[in-house]
Symmetry: C2
Subunit: 191 residues, 2 copies
DNA sequence: CACTTACGATACACAGTGGATCATAATGGA
DNA sequence: TCCATTATGATCCACTGTGTATCGTAAGTG
């Protein structure tokens, strides 16, 4: 929308992303007004619109940053042999960035953010796929893995301490990665 | 809110539920206005508020009806031995009520409706549980089963014809019911 | 240091909400 | 069948949030 090299622009956008993250942790997205975001960020109301068309655009940018970090870590692991190790990596990565993930995945706007993460992840994966999908099952499996792991992590972050990280990794391995791997090995007949 | 025996009330509410179902199939919930619902139902704007406090209350009622039907079918099956049969029953039940489920689970407001279905299901299950949960794992498992099946059905309904009903039942069995059953049999150590 | 550009403040039109009123019409009991 | 009851439709209104425009000021850039 505007120049990106100007230090003021960088500062303002960073303040807006930070404010959105905080507010998204506290309230469902529909309860967050642009005025509240601007106020929290310490910028003028009209200024908001010089940087983002609406609050969804801001949320999308915030989610996008999260997705990139997440995907870089997670993506190579999904096809990997060592499924327990893959699950551990995912869990540990989230633990290592607890505040932001807790805010956005498990916070008041978590539903919206997870939906956005799922959408973006599927788009990105479809665009950068090594091999073409071999059928509807491949599409389904991508959807299932990503949405299930996001949901499980959301539950886990909302019930912090209920299950320790190692057990959570085992659960992800046994309820998602392994069953999906088996499904790939021996698909239902007709697929 | 008002008398329920009056034929006009019954008619009006039925018209509102129907209108909400139709609109929810077409647009995301936030794009649906009370005026649009009233118009579609063929009733006056102010009349809407004599029956529901806001559009979320109406959606909750519509979703609630869906949930009751769904749960009556699904609930006894989740603990059942014959997991393939259980999965088949779920899939066939949805196929038997295709229009309404397609509209509400996979439609434009599907995200909101699924979240509401998940919420209500967990509340109902917690209230009417035979035995107390034996730990956090039980809570997690309920959450995982319900949310995963709802998501898988949503994908399936959105990609109608991509996978036939029998294959879908096999997928639900192999990616959800069986892994969860195994997890119950041999929980991660410490749970 | 001068030029450029982002910023804050404010005002505005617009859309949706939910509450209120009042005449009309449908309803169900006597 | 008639009548008291009450749901309904139409309309009005105050309130909140959105997104655009304007303008003087302050900050960053080269």
């Amino acid at each position: 929308m505007t120049t990106v090299s100007d230090a003021r622009v960088v500062r303002t956008r960073e303040a807006l992303r930070q404010a959105m993250t905080e507010l998204a942790a506290e309230s469902p997205l529909e309860a967050i007004t642009v005025r509240a975001i601007a106020a929290r960020a310490g910028i003028g109301y009209a200024t908001f619109f010089r940087h983002y068309t609406d609050k969804d655009a801001l949320l999308a940018e915030v989610a996008d940053i999260l997705i990139r970090q997440f995907m870089v870590q997670v993506r190579p692991l999904l096809m990997q042999r060592d499924r327990r190790g893959a699950a551990r990596t995912i869990v540990n990565f989230v633990v290592g960035h607890l505040p932001i993930y807790k805010a956005l995945i498990a916070g008041g706007s978590g539903e919206t953010v997870r939906a956005e993460m799922l959408r973006q992840t599927l788009v990105t994966m479809a665009a950068t796929r090594q091999r073409q999908p071999e059928g509807p099952l491949d599409d389904f499996i991508f959807f299932h893995i990503v949405s299930t792991i996001l949901n499980q992590l959301a539950w886990w972050l909302r019930h912090e301490g209920a299950i320790d990280a190692e057990a959570m990794a085992e659960i992800i391995e046994r309820t998602v990665l392994t069953p999906v791997s088996d499904l790939r090995q021996a698909p239902p007949k007709g697929l």
